[in-house]
Amino acid sequence: MSQRDDGAATGISGTRSAEGRHAKRTAVPDILSVLGLLIVFIQAGCSSDSNSTRSVTLWHQMSPAERETLNEAVERFERDNPQIRVNVLYKETEELRSGFQAAALAGTGPDLIYGPSDAVGAFAPMGIIQDLGPYYSDNELGLYSGDALTYATTPESKETSSLLQIGDRIGNHLALIVNRNIVNEIPRNSDDLIRIAKQHTRIRRMNKEVKPGFLIWVLPGLVFIIACGLLWSQRANIGQFFGDSRMNPLAFLIVVLAIFVSIITIVYPFLNNRRDDGVNQYGLVFNFIEPYFAVPFITGHGGWIFDDKAQSLQPALDTPAVVNALAFVRDLREKHNVLPAGCDYEMADTLFKKGQAAMIINGDWSWGDYVANPKLDAAVIPLPAIVSTGLPMAPMVAPRGYSLNINSLGQSRDDAIALMKHLLSKDVQQKNLTELKALPSLLSLSVESSHLADPTLRAAATQREQGRMMPTDAEMRGIWEAMRPHYQALLGGDTTPQEAATSMQADAIRNIRRMNEELKPGLLVWVLQGFAFIVACGFLWWQRGNITRFFGDVRTNPLAYLLVAPAMLILVITIVYPFLYNIALSFSNMSLRQFRDWQLIGLQNYGEVLTEPTFFVILFKTIIWTLVCVVMSVAIGLLLAVALNGNVRGKSIYQVALILPWAIPAYITALTWRGMFDAEFGAINLIGNGVLGLPAVNWLGEPNAAFAACIITNVWLGFPFMMVITLGGMQGIPRDLYEAARIDRVSRWGQFRHITLPMLKPVLVPAITLGTIWTFNNINVVWLVSAGGQPSDKTHILVSYVYKAVFNLYRYGYGAALSMIIFVLLLGFSLAFLNKTKATDAVA
């Protein structure tokens, strides 16, 4: 309890003095550093540091198998250096990236981070990692392959490049894996590949895929209505069967639905089993919808994502080579039908592991599993050459390695370097090579030919030689973001290869421009700051009575305020401060290039948001999304509540069953629905198309259908809340109102319309307001069901768009402005709605 306590104390005192001396902006990172220290405290847990032990923290994103060797290496290091404790923390790649950015910005974070080299591309311009040059001699560096050393410029180094990452392995590249139980020849070129793939594709296809038409809703509706009508005519018999001769129609409806669902759930597995008789088999699978997997096809056609000849970084996506490559990839499914629709990473992986795919294209991280799988007899082979060009398909190759946090200083930096050197040592790399088949970065290990005896390693090495190093520039992000939507639109049949390539190029140029945009403060900043100052003063003046009363109160009731203080403090830290910080950010130029040294620049971010047509398109979509979700949730919730409020047998069972969707964590539900919406293997198409013969819908591949899928999922998640709220409200409606209505000869609908609805108003209005805000801001469902806005970024709502803008293109100021606009919209809506419906009015 020594060093850290000191750190916290100085952090706090630093805050106080900084606020006095400097502008607000410098105070911000200091406060953040206190927060950051708190976070480190919490993450370090109650590790009992004695005075003599020092600690080094490492964040990594290794797979479980890789983690084992890492842990072994770390244990060895700790044995050799008993005074150093190493905290190893796993974080998923994106989480590591964003978490490290936030922590480093706050002046804290792990000493070392381990990950692919492309992360360096963003960390470098942000100025949050250190130059490793001073800690390595030229001789030491000479031991490593040049590809393993990642250099880039940082804000500190200005023009000259610094060494920012040293890789312990080079690879991360794609290759072809063949299941020799199915295929016993090796494709020599792309024609071979297609021929073999087609030869081993055996699909009992569904009915022809069509886009969802009007009929798809009408037909099942009609069937359902007719079925209900038939059953209703027999209600007396059915009622007797259930032991209740006087069923109300809604209870009846529920029973029918329940029977319907149970029949389907019982019948469905049988159907599914029949379909699984090894009848479906695909020739070639891979993560079809992700442009990273299309890169080998581009290189094979003689292209590259950047212009090799240009001096500066120029995207080269609108080239004949890229167009040909896009056409080639599209035809794999459109023409040759060798892989399933909407094939993503999980699906490809699962199909191959189940022996339902002859070949797969996947990265080196996956090979170990495939080769070790006894059911497969998998062999890794280099990707073949493209016939039209004669060029081999070259995947991207990237090192993975360690970088040093800019905030790691003094003793802990030296310890971190020691740990890093150990983890990069020959022993550790040798172990990684033999156990993980990871290609080492040390030249001394690479020249040893012994590992070439291993066919997988041989193929890996060959494939690596064919590959191209992945650029580590931050601009890569902008390229992927530009490629993905148009690539997916192409695969969905919504555009041509030429159009897609042209749009990719245009978007890539735009994204890169935006990422590198360095907005400068305008004149308006002074006006704005003055305005803010006047507003603040005005507010204080206006509230002066309350403020003096508050201080008077504090003096008279110090204990009360002392007791409330912790809660107040937490509120300020978690709500007030981030809110004010966000307001400040929205007027700032915080971005990739101005990460730690951002300035207030004025209204430019707001101007940019409000002049973009995309904003209004997405706003419109968000409104539709919110409207449909809330209306459907309320309608279904209300219907079920009415049904459950009556005399229903087994009421509690229904009630529990209907609340379940709410009780299950939303992300599990969302992912389950994503699985059910799968075009070929999902329950919805299997039942709709396979059992009922409705046209199959490419739920996740077609923009409108994907949006509908998101809505359905969200309604499923939303109705139980509305049902519970409504049911609670209904308990409070006096029964004699309904009796009076019966005597007045009011129909059931009339009773609902004239009694239930008005009496529910006091509970429904707040519920709808809350539901609207939740839905409007519900990023989870959209993000998970549509896998981050797929296809083609057509399923975004405002919040997911903000998320994407902030975390994928590092446009923090822009994102903050956008979220302020969302906040104002929601605030306006809530006030207007509550005012309009006068929710606070008591009824009766």
């Binding site: 109102l737 019966r742 005597i743 007045d744």
Partner: protein, 362 residues
């Protein structure tokens, strides 16, 4: 027209509880019939079976000769007024009153006219555009009555309509309902647990206990000739005094007290019933007087209610306003004009004899 007939009507619940047992009743056209009894006696259930809000387990209900067991409440040509008014909260008084007619497809003009008439009868003209929550309890109940009136049904059913009002308003509304019935002359069935309401409003009163009709009669007959001990005890306030004793050889005996009774009613255990207003204080004691200890004295000014202890049995007497009594002293009570009743013992013991063979007013 509005003749309601109940024939062997039963109400049994799923758990076997019998709420109403073999109810037989004919309510004449234009009659004001009151169902009275302690809570849980089945009076409300009976009314609700007439209304159609409760299903009839057994037996038949006829309205104007038609069997209505299977008719919906809206098709029985009755109107009902509830204890909690049951007004549609988001509708104005006008809409509330006209809603039943609107649902029956009556034209707007006629509705408007009838609502106006009803409003003037109930002096609600100024409130027609208010909503229920903007009115007092008494006003709401008048609206509920108005809603029944505009329908012009064969019968009105009232389910404890005054029990949510304060005492003063209750008395006022009671007379108003009475006047209204005189004016409209519509058959009315009225449920209450308040015997004063029952006595003042009803042409005939049905006294119920434990789901069984105890007696159906005019108010005065119920008072003077109760069929059993339950009715005798339920009607009248303060309630009738009961003295447990035995009858032997033409004499009723209870402790020190002894009095002559008709020979025919000799039993081991019988109960003597005397109304508080039929007791008086006398100076001298005799064999047929009651030696009692004064317990509590309640002075009302016009009268005094005295509470006494007669050999462990409580007695109440209604005495003159200026009678001299002090708690703790002994005094002697005598029965006035042989106004006593003799019952079989038990809660619902049959009346065996009365001291004055005919002390009904007629």
């Amino acid at each position: 027209m509005g003749i309601i007939r109940l024939e062997h009507v039963y109400k049994r619940y799923d758990d076997g509880y019998v709420a109403v047992q073999d109810a037989n009743l004919t309510i004449e056209d234009g009659e004001f019939l009151v169902l009275v009894g302690p809570s849980g006696c089945g009076k409300s259930t009976t009314l609700r079976m007439i209304a159609g809000l409760e299903s009839i387990s057994d037996g038949d209900v006829y309205i104007d000769g038609d069997r209505v067991n299977d008719r919906e409440p809206g098709d029985r040509d009755i109107a009902m007024v509830f204890q909690n008014y049951a007004l549609y909260p988001h509708m104005t008084v006008r809409a509330n009153m006209g809603f039943g007619l609107k649902m029956r497809g009556v034209s707007g003009n006629i509705i408007e006219e009838r609502v106006k008439d009803a409003a003037s009868i109930l002096s609600l003209e100024d409130l027609l555009d208010r909503r229920p929550k903007e009115m007092s309890g008494g006003q709401r109940q008048r609206v509920a009555v108005g809603r029944a009136i505009v329908r012009q049904p064969a019968a009105f059913l009232f389910d404890e309509p005054l029990s949510n009002l304060d005492a003063k308003l209750r008395v006022q509304m009671r007379t108003e309902l009475s006047r209204l019935h005189q004016r409209l002359g519509t058959t009315t069935v009225y449920v209450t647990h308040d015997q004063v309401e029952a006595m003042t409003l009803g042409h005939r009163i049905v006294v119920m206990n434990r789901g069984i009709i105890q007696q159906v009669d005019t108010p005065l007959n119920l008072y003077h000739q109760p069929l059993n001990r339950f009715v005798a005890g339920f009607i009248g306030s303060p309630a009738m005094n009961f003295v447990e004793g035995s009858s032997r050889a033409g004499r009723f005996r209870s402790g020190e007290m002894e009095m002559e009774i008709p020979e025919a009613w000799a039993r081991d255990n019988v109960t003597l019933g005397v109304r508080p207003e039929d007791l008086k204080i006398i100076d001298s004691s005799a064999s047929d007087t009651l030696a009692v200890r004064v317990d509590v004295v309640e002075r009302m000014g016009n009268e005094t209610i005295g509470y006494f202890d007669f050999a462990g049995q409580p007695m109440v007497a209604r005495l003159a306003g200026d009678v001299a009594l002090s708690p703790g002293t002994m005094t002697t009570l005598a029965i006035r004009d042989a106004r006593w009743h003799l019952f079989e013992s038990g809660e619902e013991g049959t009346r065996l004899a009365s001291g004055q063979a005919d002390h009904s007013p007629g």
